[in-house]
């Protein structure tokens, strides 16, 4: 599945390729403690219940490896965005696919933020807030900082034009 074929049939732009690495590192950071816990549990249980050391840990390690290597790419591919006239399109989600369309006229305020890992890669996330309930905050992560700022400025310009 690529960002090019979305639910609304719109061709969308992919996120910055560096974001794939960010996702991978994020998964890795989350996976390491789990791996350590699995090894410890394995050591304790294998001695007590008499089975070969590594049976549990290797299984869990396989799951974690696929989580770190395969799943980030899938998640990355699911993302897509495009500022199209006066509408912002954002697609996301692997299991549950969504494609949101936010009329810029409805935007209440805009945030550009940088997480700890993303900052090292020069990436930023754009958060667009509306007065709505379900999609009150639409987030686009993994944008190159200049791109995030460009989007923000363009949306801001649009809102200002509309107000006049």
């Amino acid at each position: 599945m690529s960002a090019a074929e979305t639910l609304a049939g719109e061709a969308l732009d992919p996120l910055d390729p560096r974001y794939r690495t960010v996702l991978r590192l994020g998964s890795l950071v989350a996976a390491l403690p789990l791996l350590v816990a699995a090894v410890v549990a394995d050591a304790v249980l294998s001695s007590r219940f008499d089975f070969a050391f590594g049976a549990i840990a290797s299984g869990i390690a396989l799951l974690l490896i696929s989580w770190v290597l395969v799943s980030p790419a899938r998640r990355f591919n699911a993302w897509g965005y495009r500022l199209d006239g006066d509408e912002l399109n954002v697609a996301r989600g692997v299991l549950t696919r969504t494609h949101s369309i936010v009329p810029l006229q409805r935007v209440q305020h805009i945030d550009v933020g940088q997480g700890a890992i993303a900052r090292r890669f020069g990436l930023a996330e754009l958060v667009v807030h509306t007065a709505g309930t379900h999609g009150a905050a639409v987030t686009i992560p993994g944008l190159a900082l200049p791109e995030a700022e460009r989007l923000r400025d363009e949306i801001r310009l649009h809102i200002r034009r509309e107000a006049e």
Binding site: S100, A131, H134
Partner: protein, 495 residues
């Protein structure tokens, strides 16, 4: 506009403020008064008690003295705070609705509590507790007179200030209030009563009557002596007891339902001022809410089963700031017939009964019974493979689940008419939401994993002021239809 000077709240609010502060610190005061009464040397305690009492009177007094409000040309300004001053400006442009509440004390003193809602999420956004009725009218006139753009509002303001008397749209005679209480009967109220009984018991000293012990005694006695319990008389007595308990619970439920409805909706009146709806209701505490037409984000028509059987519906108007009400919406007609509903929706230029209803795709039955189905199907099939004779049981379990999914699918439909999206759903009761397309905040096409398996999509239509699960969702669309609906909504949004 200058907020200097400004007005103080009505002196009655000073008295309620002092009473409130005494009430809230009564537990802390008790030991001190106790020590005065019983201590050997009360000399130390007496000054402390005096200091505290003085503080309890002084603090609200200073607060009251430091609270000022100004009704300006285009904003309400509230200044408050003793140590750190706070100046809050509420532009009339942002005011969603005004809520006026008058309890028995307020009615005796000719005052009211006013809440100005802006939809900013905070609880006490602009509360004036309390002001005279003349001030309420002045605030209303100022907000009504504000026309947003033009500086030449003087003429418009005076014209509106002298607006014609409100036109009555809907009223509830007392019989209908009672009926709404009966139909609003809920098991919740019974639970509340039984819960309350637990608290009452310790107060009834000596009797030591415990409802639950009694039930246990009656019902559980079989365990104590099976032979005795097996006798017909004993069982009959138990059955009679349980039946009378259920009967009492039903009566209690209806009575509380009626009492609550009378307290809440006595003298219910909905009127139209030419630009806003005004609801007035209440027996002891009279509440008055004003909802300007331009602030209505969505209309909700609800018919829980009992109402539906009697061909009534409840009408609610959703606004951004309707936070003081349950579910973020204002009830403007608790029990209404179709023609009464039409009178309300006509004023909003909406159609309460669209003709072009569309149902979702038939495969949606699987989606609506989805979670239960998948939860049951896998273990049933596994069991069927392991223990073959259970295989015939699979349909026995699946048929009722699919039947519920089918009913849910049948109850769900949508329509686009007169610039508004209609979404209706429900199995026993019915819920019909009307969203003027101009009010749409964003549109999302969604495909969950079940939806992907059966090739369907949903369209989520985000509106302001709804709670998460009241956001309208149109399901059972084939991808092309979902795309078309999303496009239609986004085009319709532009009006």
């Amino acid at each position: 506009m200058s907020a200097e000077g400004g007005r103080r709240l009505h002196p009655a609010s000073l008295i309620t403020g002092i009473l409130d502060s005494i009430r809230s610190s009564i537990l802390a005061l008790l030991p001190i008064f106790g020590s005065i009464a019983f201590a050997e040397r009360p000399f130390v305690s007496v000054p402390i008690a005096f200091l505290i009492l003085a503080g309890l009177i002084l603090v609200p007094t200073i607060k009251w003295m430091r609270f000022r409000y100004t009704i300006g040309d285009d904003a309400l300004v509230i200044e408050q705070g003793v140590i750190s001053r706070q100046r809050r400006v509420i532009p009339f442009e942002r005011v969603q609705d005004i809520d006026v509440e008058r309890g028995p004390i307020a009615r005796a003193t000719g005052t009211a509590l006013v809440k100005v809602e802006t939809g900013g999420g905070g609880k006490d956004e602009g509360t004036l507790d309390v002001v005279t009725l003349a001030e309420v009218e002045r605030l209303r006139a100022a907000i009504r007179g504000w026309r947003g753009a033009a500086p030449a509002t003087d003429a418009a303001a005076t014209e509106v200030a002298a607006s014609p008397p409100d036109q009555l749209i809907y009223a509830m005679p007392i019989s209908r209030v009672v009926l709404s209480g009966v139909l609003g009967f809920s098991l919740v109220s019974i639970a509340v009563i039984f819960g309350a009984l637990q608290y009452v018991e310790p107060l009834v000293e000596g009797t030591r009557y415990d409802v639950y012990d009694f039930i246990r005694e009656q019902v559980g006695s079989r365990r104590i002596d099976p032979r005795e319990a097996a006798t017909g008389a004993r069982m009959l007595a138990t059955a009679a007891f349980v039946a009378s308990l259920v009967g009492a619970a039903l009566v209690l439920g209806f009575v509380t339902g009626i009492v609550l409805a009378l307290l809440r909706d006595f003298g219910f009146r909905l009127s139209w001022s030419g630009a806003a709806f005004r609801v007035r209701r209440g027996l002891l505490t009279i509440r008055e809410v004003q909802v300007p037409r331009g602030r209505v984000q969505r209309v909700i028509l609800k018919a829980p089963l009992l109402l539906r059987l009697m061909k009534y519906r409840r009408v609610e108007l959703g606004t951004i700031g309707g936070a003081s009400e349950m579910g973020g919406s204002h009830v403007v007609a608790p029990l209404a017939r179709s023609e009464e509903i039409n009178r309300i929706t006509d004023l909003l230029h909406l159609d309460a009964a669209p003709a072009g209803w569309r149902r979702g795709h038939g495969l949606m039955v699987l989606q609506r019974s989805g979670r239960l189905l998948t939860a049951m199907l896998t273990p049933m099939v596994v069991l069927g493979v392991l223990v073959p004779w259970t295989l015939p049981l699979v349909p026995v379990v699946l048929i009722p689940i699919l039947a519920v999914g089918w009913l849910a699918w049948r109850g769900e439909r949508h329509a686009i008419e007169q610039g508004a999206l209609h979404v209706r759903n429900g199995i026993l009761g019915i819920r019909h939401v009307i969203v003027p397309m101009r009010r749409i905040q964003s549109v999302t096409i969604r495909r969950g994993w079940i939806e992907r398996a059966i090739g369907l999509s949903s369209v989520i239509v985000d509106v302001a002021g709804a709670s998460t699960y009241t956001v309208p969702v149109v399901s059972g669309l084939v991808p092309d239809d979902a795309r078309r609906l999303a496009a239609a909504l986004l085009i319709g949004r532009r009006g």
